[in-house]
Amino acid sequence: MTATDALIKCLEMEGVTHVFGYPGVAICPFYDSILNSSIKTILVRQEQNAAHEASGYARVTGKAGVAVVTSGPGATNLITGIATAFADSIPLVCITGQVNSELMGSDVFQEADISGACESFVKYSYIVRDPNEIPRIIKEAFYIATSGRKGPVLIDLPIDVQMAEIRKFSYPEEANIRTYKPTVEGHAVQIRKVLRALKNARRPIICAGGGVHLSGAKEEVRRFVEENEIPLVCTMMGLGTLPTDHPLFYGMVGNNGQVYGNRAMNDADVVLMVGARVADRSITQPDLITENKVLVHIDVDPAEIGKNAGPTIPLVGDIKNIFEHFNQKVIEADYTDWIDRLDGYKDDGMNARTRTVYGDEDDGNPDTVAPSFFIRELSRAMKKDAVYVADVGQNQMWSCANVRIREGRFLTSGGMGTMGYAVPAALGAKIGAPDKQVVAVCGDGGFQMTMMELATLKQYDVHVKIVVLHNGVLGLVRQYQHFTYKDRFSVINLDGSPDLEKLSAAYGIPYLRISDEADMLDKIDAFLATDETMLLEVMVDPNSLA
């Protein structure tokens, strides 16, 4: 048995169903061995997308996504995808081919020190020197990627190690890493302290982050919120913890969030940060959330607690585990007055929005539609449990503010803000959850960064709904230059972009276009009516601000 035969066997035993990647000489032994396996291979059109697709797959399945590419440029192309996954704590196992181990360090053809290059944004990395170590390393890699604070693990695999014969294969039952024992169980004393703080609170608020989804704790958090009637806001990564129209949901916080969400945070006397990093985009002034309040910080990563804001009550552990403890008893408290006040804020916010210059449902331009109106209607027409993947830029801001989430998921690149994430991540999500409707929403800038994946969608008959909000500019940069540089616009025109109707035709993908509010709803219905891949181009005025 060769080392790569053994490696494939390990992947099978980890329940891997799909490998996203791109072959090259240095990873050919792997791609030869996988021919004998039931694991399906997806040939991406650029390696960055392999990591994004694995990321989309991981986020809907809860399993680690697997990306396998060759050495040198294959490996370095993967880097942006790895960093994107690391920033959002997405579990990936990335395997890169490497040159012959005896030649490593001598700058031979297609050699790159990928483990060195990725050091600061992988959870751990291995350079495999001994083929007999492969079973242990694979077992550890999947365990590290999917436990504690999740994240990408890199395995660099020299070609001679791949081709070596393995004498005896056995796959370890479990990973036993002496230096790695993540805390899952919340500390009983701290849990009691939190419950006591909530009991004494008059204006409590829960701020849910991406950790809620990563821990698979949506149900537990929702139950806790409903049974105790505690209002909830979320960060961008936490969207979907509660349905958008849930009466106890008070929007997204941060500089791109709702005003009423931020007011709720500021006025609260007890704040529970749950699986959120207290990052700069959500909490612009960390000092404010510790001032005159009890800050409870719940996170599986102890290093996040106290990094940006010193909590009154730190609580390390898995969110699902902790909320199961929380849910054992109902808190004896009444927050009705507080909820009334927040409802007032929410009404004010809703009214303020309809008072904008063109109102809520018209952008004042006959050839374009109001993006916020479009997003609201699109997400309303989507299936209840659909997966909505937002790209990065104005489209992301419009999405966050207007998407209606019910039982589905909202995926986006939050921490890294990687343009071009949506199409490949949607592809991976659809492969991970084939029964779900998956919709990618991008701008015309981000779309062009990864539109080569249309070929991958076509090749593997993966059905994803793609929306391109077309304003002909890099909208969020333009908006920034509008405010900060007083309309001195620089390098934001996307002149030369392809005709998307012709592009869709070239890929054999049906195409629709919306340029007027009048037939918008009909077109949205037509777009979502079938299961097939379709591209919907939505014309947006470049002056529309997010």
Binding site: E119, T179, Y180, D301, P302, K307
Partner: protein
């Protein structure tokens, strides 16, 4: 916030690249390294790294957490001055002619330094102690020309058996 100086003892698995993982973490997160020393322990699987660092309390807490999070790290804790012994080794080569030699040797003697190399124009002195003692010795030698100087950085151990980390 108050700047303080702390010495951390880090026990790590002897994997390839572990020292660069730790020093890289200090660089990219902007933590100071005043000195760093590393060497294998009685257990060949384990390396002891001693890092002397400075920063405010928040940074100290983050150093402990972020280093502790690295997968090769078995243990990190502060070596508190009152509960620990620190040593540093310095090798100092000074220009010393035959007439100056006696004086330099006498100074070295006061600091319990050893003469470990002699040539017609120079002396090499080995001195160990805490950083303050070595600083003081170097200062005393300022009247002479120091040709070359090598310092190891701080190594330290906790006193007694209270803080011993047992590795299974």
């Amino acid at each position: 916030m108050k700047e303080n100086i702390k010495v951390f003892q880090i026990l790590v698995d002897n994997t390839s690249g572990v020292l660069s993982r730790i020093s890289g973490l200090f660089t990219r997160r902007g933590y100071n390294i005043e000195s760093i020393s590393a060497g294998v322990t009685a257990d060949p699987r384990i390396t002891r790294i001693t890092i002397k660092t400075s920063g405010d309390d928040d940074i100290m807490e983050q150093i402990e957490k972020q280093v502790g999070k690295l997968l090769d790290v078995r243990d990190i804790h502060e070596l508190k001055p009152e509960e620990s012994v620190f040593r540093e080794l310095a090798m100092i080569k000074v220009r010393a002619t035959a007439s100056q030699r006696e004086n330099v040797i006498a100074l070295a003697g006061i600091f319990r330094g050893n003469i470990i190399d002699v040539s017609s124009e120079s002396l090499m002195i080995e001195v160990t102690g805490n950083s303050g003692k070595i600083d003081a010795f170097i200062k005393l030698l300022s009247g002479y020309e120091i040709l070359e100087l090598a310092r190891t950085g701080v190594a330290g151990l906790g006193r007694g058996t209270k803080n011993v980390i047992y590795i299974d």
